[in-house]
């Protein structure tokens, strides 16, 4: 029973992070949210007795993809629209 509750909690957390990543205008936060999706997915894979897939997801999804997106954001721009260009200049990544 507690297993079922935990897995539902993780699924809701994953869904929330996914919605946040889509809605968020600040791309840095959106990338971190996609990293959270991968992290929660790792736990779900482990609970569903697929440790091989969980290891891959942890290494590729959480670390490598997030960092590649971060480098991409650093080389392009941080915000989705051009409204807050002043903040764009002040961002710590620039």
């Amino acid at each position: 029973m507690i297993y079922l509750i935990l897995i539902f909690f993780l699924l809701i957390l994953m869904l929330g992070a996914a919605v946040y990543a889509v809605v968020q205008k600040d791309l840095l936060y959106a990338v971190i949210a996609t990293g959270v999706i991968s992290l929660v997915l790792t736990a779900i894979f482990y609970m569903l007795q697929a440790p091989d897939v969980a290891l891959t997801e942890a290494a590729i999804g959480v670390a490598l993809t997030t960092i590649i997106f971060l480098i991409t954001i650093r080389n392009t721009k941080r915000y989705e629209d051009d409204y807050n260009k002043k903040d764009n200049l002040k961002s710590p990544l620039k």
């Binding site: 440790p51 091989d52 969980a54 290891l55 891959t56 290494a59 590729i60 670390a63 490598l64 960092i67 590649i68 971060l70 480098i71 650093r74 080389n75 710590p92 990544l93």
Partner: protein
């Protein structure tokens, strides 16, 4: 003349591919009850491998793994080809932010442990969860940590490509040795050993070590190329 030659080679290749594939009956059920029972039974009784996933991925479906590794190789090569022009400016790296001393000492402390974990995972691929791809990805994560923490930490691109090429060639050579000894590509020709021992499962251990080296070199090279891309 050159074009004519290319067309001729393509025609010969096409003819033989068609001849090979025209005999296959697509959509015909060839297995009455599926192959899962076969895999589950043979993994322990014949191959003496503790991890069924590994035995399917490397032994029964080893050719698919070779294709998977080739896909990764092509993707990384294409990436390097696109970003090739800018790599000649040696020394300038797009630094995310200058790292603090905590990050520097922490990553220096963690780096050997991460490498050890990755090596452990791909050496014990046939005993515990994980394998070549997972171990290689973890090793690449360790190099990523060092590349981000230290601005002047660098890896040799030539060494990486030598490791990658050697591992890929070795994988294919082991597959071809199966032709000479057993009869099919990637057939197991080494003794199966004792279940749950490190030296068990025949060629699975060797192939997974090679896959681990290959994936680690490819992903490290990928990150290195992206970090040095600057405009």
């Amino acid at each position: 003349m050159k074009k004519f030659l290319v067309i001729l080679i393509l025609a010969v290749l096409g003819f033989h591919l068609f001849a090979a594939f025209s005999g296959l009956g697509f959509g015909v059920t060839r297995f009455e009850k599926g192959v899962k029972d076969f895999y589950l039974e043979k993994t322990v009784s014949e191959l003496h491998v503790a991890n069924t996933v590994t035995s399917i991925v490397v032994n029964f479906r080893g050719f698919d793994t070779l294709g998977e590794v080739t896909v990764l190789f092509l993707a990384v090569s294409a990436m390097g080809g696109i970003l090739y022009k800018r790599r000649h400016h040696a020394g300038d790296r797009s630094v995310l932010f200058s790292s603090s001393s905590i990050v520097r000492s922490g990553s220096k402390l963690l780096f050997p442990a991460i490498i050890l974990l990755g090596v452990y995972i791909f050496i014990h691929g046939h005993l515990s969860p994980g394998g070549g791809f997972q171990g290689g990805a973890i090793i690449a994560t360790g190099f990523l940590l060092m590349l981000i923490a230290y601005e002047n930490f660098s890896v040799s691109h030539n060494t990486l490509s030598y490791i990658e090429s050697f591992a890929g060639i070795f994988f294919v050579v082991i597959g071809l040795l199966g032709f000479m000894n057993g009869g099919t590509f990637l057939q197991n020709f080494l003794p199966a050993g004792i279940l749950n021992n490190l030296f068990s499962g025949g060629v699975i251990g060797i192939i997974y070590v090679m896959v681990g080296f290959k994936v680690a070199a490819e992903l490290t090279g990928l990150i290195y190329t992206i970090l040095h891309e600057k405009d």
